[in-house]
Amino acid sequence: MNKKTKVVERDEMVIRFSGDSGDGMQLTGTLFSNTAALFGNYMSTFPDYPSEIRAPSGTVGGVSGFQVHVGHSKVKTPGDLADVLVSMNPAALKANTKWVKQGGVIILDVDNFDEKGIKKAGYDSNPIGKEFLDSFMVVEAPITSLTKEALKDIDLDRKSILRTKNMFALGMVYWLFGKSLDYTENFFKEKFRNKPMVIEANKKVLKAGYYYAETMEALCPYNISRAEVKKGRYRNINGNTAIAWGVLAAAEKAGLNVYVGSYPITPATGILEDVALRRDLGAITFQAEDEIAGICTTIGASFAGKLGVTTTSGPGLALKSEAIGLAVMTELPIVIVNVQRGGPSTGLPTKTEQADLWQVLYGRHGECPVVVLAASTPSNCFKYAFEAAKIALEHMTPVILMSDGFLANGTESWRIPKMADYPDIKPPIVKEDTKNWEPYKRDNKRLARTWALPGTKGLEHRIGGLEKDALTGNVSHDPENHEKMIRIRDEKVEKVVNFIPDLEVEGGKEGDLLVVGWGGTYGHLITVVNELREEGKKVSLAHFNYIRPLPRNTRDVFRKFKKIVVCELNLGQFADYLRMKYQEIKFNQYNKIQGLPFTVIELKKNINKILEDKSNV
């Protein structure tokens, strides 16, 4: 690498790739983040793509983006604003200018800033040279024409040539960050194994972009040195894959096989796809005819001895409600994963939100308690999927695991765990001819009934949706038995509190303000709390992964702070849940519901406001 220019050292930087949804921006961003990861940077990424398969090309609605936050230390969010924006057309510029830092670099493909492109993007006239771009460093690169020029001697059709222009942009960004081209070149070899011409073309264009950035002398290269984090082997992982692998890990520790019965739904589908790859680990996936069949086959598989899992998003969870009740009644260990998206109805399918909490807690008929967990980072989806399965199997109860679109599609660097460090899971499976066995007899510690699998001699029994006799499991319409069973099912879920860790406070154990969050907002909230503490403010974070039951020490944590603010991506569902449980405590709220994650900037502003408000005590 020939670096004549002075290199600027940075601790962290945010790069956003944006273009038409057909421009390959997700791939470009992924290649860049993998390269940075292999080099040794820590990272967090987030794709931002439209829900239309292919919105009209060149329009703002069709812009697809991929943001990556690269750091020398642990970065916890994909970053609010970009230091570098790559914009393949005017629409991408229009959609993303507001996400670029003042003074940031904007690389444009000027070839697409023709009259047609400008009009399609909704600009009155060419934005290049306009005042609103003055505060950025705009690099006008003729990416399309230079791509064509680079491939003029290659025998490829026009369409295939144009398809490589994202690699020109990627080459430029690699030079800007002093990254090697090796990983990307190897990727071409793998991906286009039988198309040597396509490999050649992509390599040529990637290099052309790299050298163009080097020779144009308009850019100043950055360096983000290798991350100094806990030593170990790392990989990138997104939330969906982490959930898939987490349930596989739980099955291994329980000596069972996984069964996933699901219907494809954005943004949860990736979990089904990832488990589908794992026939090698004994996992069965069943793409059902609908959401209801997804959960009902899962209940059947669980009855027959599998670790039953069904995955969905809000609308699908609504369809599964009745069957969740059946799983509660039959006390079978299934895991229901809800990857939340913007609602109600079809809402914003590709966007993130936390507005399914009430549905998860209360959205069923009858007294129908389930254990509820929420993952809070892409990588800890693994841990909480494992935990959800462990609780389900050992307590014989359905467990709902909450994720969201942000966690599902976001990736981060992850220190690979060793399965030896994870606990064994011991489901209460009963053996042949057990004496005095009854289907609904339960242990005192957990109130879990036992699991007698069909095929086990001497334990033939019937279960179902009708109310059960508290011992035999036979149908019972006895009024007192009904109340007894209602209370048992409730207490069984509440008893899980004895098996989960206490709520941890990050920052001081007491102070002026406690920031409270749950689920996918952790990265943003901890970043803000750390920044405020560095400014000397007495602010701490309590972030919940266990939603029902809540950790035992929750009230004690709350009481040590002068003010509390609950931050969530809904109108205040968790805040209301806490109010119901802790009526003597005052909860402030900060809410956002735009289908987007929080930004650190807006959180800081609003948390400071609450902190400084003298009338609010």
Binding site: A37, R279, L281, C296, A304
Partner: protein, 338 residues
């Protein structure tokens, strides 16, 4: 997995719960025939699982001393599918009604058949909603007066056989509750056949739709109004065995043997194993009074089952897999040291 120490008896299959169907309900006879069939299958009791949805017939699993799962309305096929895929060794029986399988559970019903999951679906067709006390069902004939159709229905019914064959069904049989002998024979065949085996039972609801099949059970006329099919035998029926079915101009036709030069040789020979379902569809759709109603095994063809394929594919993949445990998986693909 056969148990050689003890041959199963009907008594072994009865649970300690009393059957709570109305006196005279066809369900009692159906259960009786199913129990008689099960003991002939050489399957240990612990390997039977009965799954049901909601409706009168869906109480069935509670009365059997086997594994049982009383599900929710319409979802029995889905629950049964999950059980069978999870453990293909089990003999899984779904008990369902015309409302449960063909209205609220229609989607699961057709997709289970399409996939060919090896379960046995016993469809109790009484053309009425009994448990909710007398509303019309998707198999009620057009014009039926019920509590929700006081002026008669204005919708066409489903014919289960047509639906099963349309969904690529491999096994379809029809029987009537009162004929325990025929029913038992059919349940044995359904239990032995590797596919989604659907048996439509014409079942009488004594309270809300009594004698809906009276034309088929009429002592004097029943032999003229039903035809009992046997594989490889000519389709002859009638009190005096003098009527038959022929296929002419791509249509089935009822003929009198000995009239118009028709001899026994002209009569259609029933072939339940014919892959092409065209003739089976025509036989399934023979309705009284134009035709005798076909009872017996209408279609029985062999095909690979879903549960076999899923588990077989898995064994093949596992045999040559590089990833043997979760640690292997976590360390696969792009990883690096920090």
């Amino acid at each position: 997995m056969s148990d050689t120490t003890h041959k199963l008896t009907v008594k072994d299959l009865k649970s300690d719960q009393d059957a709570r169907w109305c006196p005279g309900c066809g369900d009692h006879a159906v259960m009786n025939a199913i129990q008689r069939a099960l003991i002939e299958l050489d399957i240990p009791k612990e390997d039977f699982v009965f799954v049901s949805g909601i409706g009168c017939s869906s109480r069935f699993p509670y009365y059997m001393d086997t594994y049982g799962f009383h599900g929710i309305h319409g979802r029995a096929s889905a629950i049964a599918t999950g059980i069978k895929i999870a453990n293909p060794e089990l003999s899984v029986w779904q008990i369902t009604g015309d409302g449960d399988a063909l209205a609220i559970g229609g989607n699961h019903f057709i997709h289970t058949i399409r996939r060919n999951v090896d379960i046995n679906i016993i469809l109790f067709n009484n053309q009425i909603y009994g448990l909710t006390k007398g509303q019309y069902s998707p198999t009620s004939f057009k014009g039926l007066v019920t509590k929700t159709s006081p002026y008669g229905t204005v919708e066409e019914p489903f014919h289960p056989g047509e639906l099963v064959i349309g969904a690529q069904g491999k096994f379809f049989a029809r029987t009537i509750d009162s004929n325990v002998k025929l029913s038992t024979e059919i349940y044995i065949e359904a239990g032995r056949h590797n596919s989604t085996s659907v048996v439509e039972v014409l079942q009488n609801c004594v309270i809300y739709n009594d004698k809906i099949y009276g034309y088929l059970t009429d002592k004097d006329e029943k032999e003229n109004r039903q035809i009992i099919l046997h594989h490889n035998e000519p389709m002859i029926f009638g009190k005096d065995s003098d009527k038959g079915i022929i296929c002419k101009d791509n249509k089935l036709k009822v003929v009198n043997i000995g009239e118009n030069g028709i001899t026994k040789d002209d009569i259609l020979v029933h072939n339940a194993k014919e892959i092409n379902p065209g003739i089976h569809l025509m036989i399934a759709n023979m309705h009284y009074p134009d035709y005798p109603v076909a009872l017996g095994i209408i279609r029985s063809v062999d095909a690979q089952t879903y549960d076999y394929d899923v588990n077989h594919q898995m064994e093949e993949i596992r045999a040559k897999a590089k990833i043997k445990c979760v640690d292997d998986l976590l360390n696969s693909g792009n990883t690096w040291e920090l």
